[in-house]
Amino acid sequence: MVEVYKDVVCTFCGCLCDDIEIHVEDNKIVKAVNSCAISRAKFLGHESNGERQVLIDGKEASLDEAIKKAAEILVNAENPLIYGLASTSNEAIRKSMELAEKVGAKIDNTSSVCHAPTLLATQFVGDPKCTLGVIKNRADLIIFWGCNPTQAHPRHFERYSSNVKGYFTQNGREDKKVVFIDVRETRSTSKGDLFLKIEPGRDFELMLALRALLRGKKLQKDVVAGVKVEDLEKIIDMCKNAKFGVIFFGLGLTMSRGKYLNIECAISFTRELNNHTSFLIIPMRGHYNVTGANSVMTWISGYGYAVDYSRGYPRYSPGEFSAVDALAEYCDAALIIASDPVAHFPKNAVKRMGDMPVVLIDPKPNCTSIVANVYIPSLSVGIETEGTAYRMDGVPLYTRKVVNGPDGVLSDEEILERIMEEVDKLQR
């Protein structure tokens, strides 16, 4: 018998599409309707995740043993780090924060290597934004800067931005102008009305030029950052004449030279455009719940990432308490939740991870398993267990359970709860 689950939330990218139809036969996902290719691979392939066997030092172990061992590692460490969180539920993130406070850990999420500059810039200047439905209904000018939705957020165009029909945009794409700004041509850039190819690392300069033009200044040059000034003037005209414009930006802006300065400049440009017309700016967040990770950490500690509890209350210092820095410098144990730092972090951080006790909680083994002393498999959020996640614009959705996970495998939230119980025993 095939069971059909409608309006399932896809827990892959920050689009968090909530219209997926999942067909299940004998506890196996056999079909995913409305999914993009990535989503389909995620849903249909989720069982080929590798064996979900609890491991201690590479050897099979029981869950109870692993949980005890994880608690011991955290309690015995001087400077433990908890890291990951962007691909799990808010419920698990809340528990992680509680655990970090209990053991006096540093706690950080993956935004520290993607959109942390966005947070920093927001702390400086704010962030004029809206939900994606407002874009759908209203935006007639959409600028994508340093991002490639076709490959990273495949359904963004059709659901939220350039191709969708809305209240003021009943003809869809025809009612909108779409601009791409990027360092290279991508599968997205050809879809715009205008593509500005910019020299790598010079986004800040280009943004400043745009701000100057917006303020009516004449530029001394004909070309800025590889872009003709007349094209920039064209963009400024488009912006001023738009009824409602939006800038979507990605890692091309946050992780290139200038980092948070680029974002601060982009936000300030957006603010100034509001002297003429409606203009907003939205980050293209990658992992499906990285927005939730920032949000939960903020309401529990005051800060969105890079938090330290070693003094019993939260302190914030990006560059010091952020995972890459903490791992490379002084952490002596790590609990990784739903993430794979070994695959993505710089060499010195990875090297030190090899020398310290590491606990990994993840639905599937990954490169970090290689260095992990304890591996605890967990249920996959949005497939085998439910939980809350925030879309890139902050809209909160409740993800579903469509199949049963393997016997004896717990959710991240439950595992963290159990670790905390053990920690309590050890600390008593």
Partner: protein, 572 residues
């Protein structure tokens, strides 16, 4: 800890709802409620020489949700202004103007408040709001979803289809676990999000829908009274923060003058954070106080209630409202260094956040400071005016003791007037006001009154059957002359003991434990045939204008783990 029987002995009890005005009497508690008799082994609590009052009721404080959290992001320094490491029984406390939810819960408890309402939720953000509320311990809570810029409301109002509007309201409350109707800058937030403008009067027209703020206010008020929701419409009027806006505010109140209140009450409208909407305009088009006009209207119109939105000067805080254009205006007014967040929500509402420090030496801010207490002193009926700072918009709620000292002591006011800009002396009537609030009146304005206005039958009093929420303050009204010792008020309005549902939360002025509070919510659709008719249109509406599916809108029961359903009582 189990709720035990106890008897609070020897305290000076104030229970305005039951006519108890500072009498030495005992309060008895059993199974979490107030009773008239307890077993002989009931625990005795010595409250002699202390004020014993019902737990405070906060009717309007922004304590949870995306706006509050964005405010935290804008104020990283706020978490270094106040921090207390975790202890064996409490988690870490951090943050001051926009603290963490945990800290907010603990602080309110220590103020003696046991009920806290979050007054502005974008319905689409309900899950987030409830997640944060869940992390705020102790207080019983509820939220007001916003309605005044909702497209479906516009549709109903345009067609004058009040039955459909009633069905929609009941549906929205049920799906998002709401409690009351909040209206923020009706039509104005829509105009901001879609036309980069605002409305300037109750008769401006929304072009796409051909409706006006007046129609929206009237439609929602009528639907609300006919539905019999526990509270009236809760209104943040148009033109917030603008010089001369008191005329718009009076127009707003007049809009609903002829709407018949539900038989359970006399009111039809609650004007929130009145201070921000009570600016007069002098002959030079500069700000002056509109308090006299507003208070006169409130005094002669029993269908109106209000809360202050008192400003606290020289304390960094943060404005956060669902009023997009007002926040843009504040951000522009504060100059290029002001941080600004905008937050429009599809088909529903808007929002904005701007950090601010009201300055005592700024003539505009000083007048704002005066307007709150001035109006409070001019309104005769304490049951219809509630003390708030619109936390954190006017300032953190932790300044309630100081606000109360200004109300109870002319000496305290005069001292303050000397330190703020002299505009207060020319542009408000504050210096001429002699009134000093009594303890009874203060306790009406902070618990009995708001509980009644919110329709909370078990709150705000100490009669039999009420929740055993009791705040005990180390003040002996017979020994201390508050009018002459205002500093005492400020110090001692932090509770010595707080009991909630019959359990001790605060002893010796310190929180000893935390508990999970209830969530008051509506969980009831309107008449079946109207509900179905409404739903047909609503599903299409969702399909067309929302970015999430209809089926993912309703929030799951896990988001309110201790629900307390309040029934609505439609009149037919």
């Amino acid at each position: 800890m189990m709720a035990e029987s106890m008897i609070i002995k020897g305290g000076i009890v104030y229970d305005p709802l039951n006519g108890v005005k500072g009498e030495k009497t005992d309060i008895m508690i059993k199974d979490g409620v107030i009773v008239s008799e307890v077993p002989s082994d009931a625990k005795e609590v010595d409250a002699s020489g202390k004020i014993v009052a019902p737990g405070g009721v906060e009717m309007h404080a922004h304590v949870a949700g995306p706006k509050v959290n964005a405010g935290r992001t804008l104020l990283p320094g706020d978490f270094r202004r106040y921090y207390v490491p975790k202890t064996d029984s409490l988690r870490a406390l951090v943050g001051y103007a926009v603290p963490t939810n945990y800290t907010t819960g603990v602080k309110y408890t220590e103020l003696g408040f046991t009920t806290v309402f979050e007054p502005a939720m974008a319905p689409l953000d309900a899950r987030h709001t409830f997640e944060e509320l869940e992390d705020m311990p102790n207080a019983d809570k509820a939220v007001f979803p916003v309605f005044g810029n909702n497209w479906f409301v516009f549709d109903c109002v345009k067609d004058n289809d009040i039955e459909k509007l009633k069905a929609f309201i009941a549906w929205m409350m049920t799906e998002t676990k709401g409690y009351g109707i909040k209206i923020v800058n009706p039509c104005g937030a829509y105009m901001w999000a879609h036309h980069h403008s605002n409305v300037t009067s109750v008769d401006d027209v929304v072009p796409e829908y051909d409706v006006t703020p007046r129609q929206v206010l009237r439609g929602l008020a009528q639907a609300n009274e006919e539905l019999g929701l526990p509270h009236t419409i809760h209104v943040h009027a148009n033109m917030l923060g603008r010089v001369g806006n008191v005329s718009t505010t009076l127009d707003t109140l007049k809009c609903v003058e002829d709407i018949k209140p539900h038989p359970s009450r006399e009111q039809v409208i609650h004007l929130t954070h009145l201070q921000f909407n009570c600016f007069g305009e002098d002959e030079n088009h500069r700000i002056c106080s509109g308090a006299e006009d507003l208070a006169e209207y409130i005094n002669s119109h029993p269908q109106v209630s209000a809360d202050l939105g008192q400003v606290i000067v020289d304390v960094p805080t943060c404005t956060m409202t669902s009023d997009g254009p007002a926040e843009f205006f504040i951000h522009k007014a504060l100059g290029p260094k002001a941080k600004w967040i905008n937050g429009d929500v599809e088909a529903e509402c808007g929002g904005g956040i701007v950090p601010i420090t009201y300055r005592s030496n700024n003539p505009f801010n000083a007048i704002q400071w005066a307007i709150g207490i001035e109006t409070c002193l001019l309104v005769k009926d304490p049951w219809r005016v509630v003390i708030t700072t619109d936390h954190p918009n006017g300032g953190p709620a932790w300044y309630y003791p100081r606000v109360i000292s200004w109300l109870m002591s002319k000496k305290a006011r005069d001292k303050m007037i000397e330190t703020v800009h002299k505009s207060v002396q020319d542009k408000t009537s504050l210096v001429n006001l002699e009134r000093e609030y009594t303890w009874e009146e203060i306790l009406i304005c902070t618990r009995a009154g708001p509980a009644k206005l919110l329709g909370l039958k078990s709150k705000g009093h100490l009669g039999e059957g009420a929740h055993a929420d009791v705040a005990i303050y180390p003040i002996d009204p017979e020994k201390v002359d508050m009018a002459n010792q205002p500093e005492e008020i400020e110090k001692k309005l932090w509770a010595d003991m707080v009991i909630k549902d019959g359990k001790f939360l605060v002893k010796n002025g310190k929180t000893i434990t935390t508990e999970r509070g209830r969530t008051y919510l509506i969980n009831q659709y309107y008449k079946d045939e109207e509900h179905k008719r409404m739903l047909k249109d609503l599903k299409e509406h969702f399909q067309k204008w929302y970015s999430i599916t209809f089926n993912n809108y309703r929030i799951q029961d896990v988001f309110a783990p201790r629900p307390q359903t309040v029934s609505i009582n439609p009149i037919s």
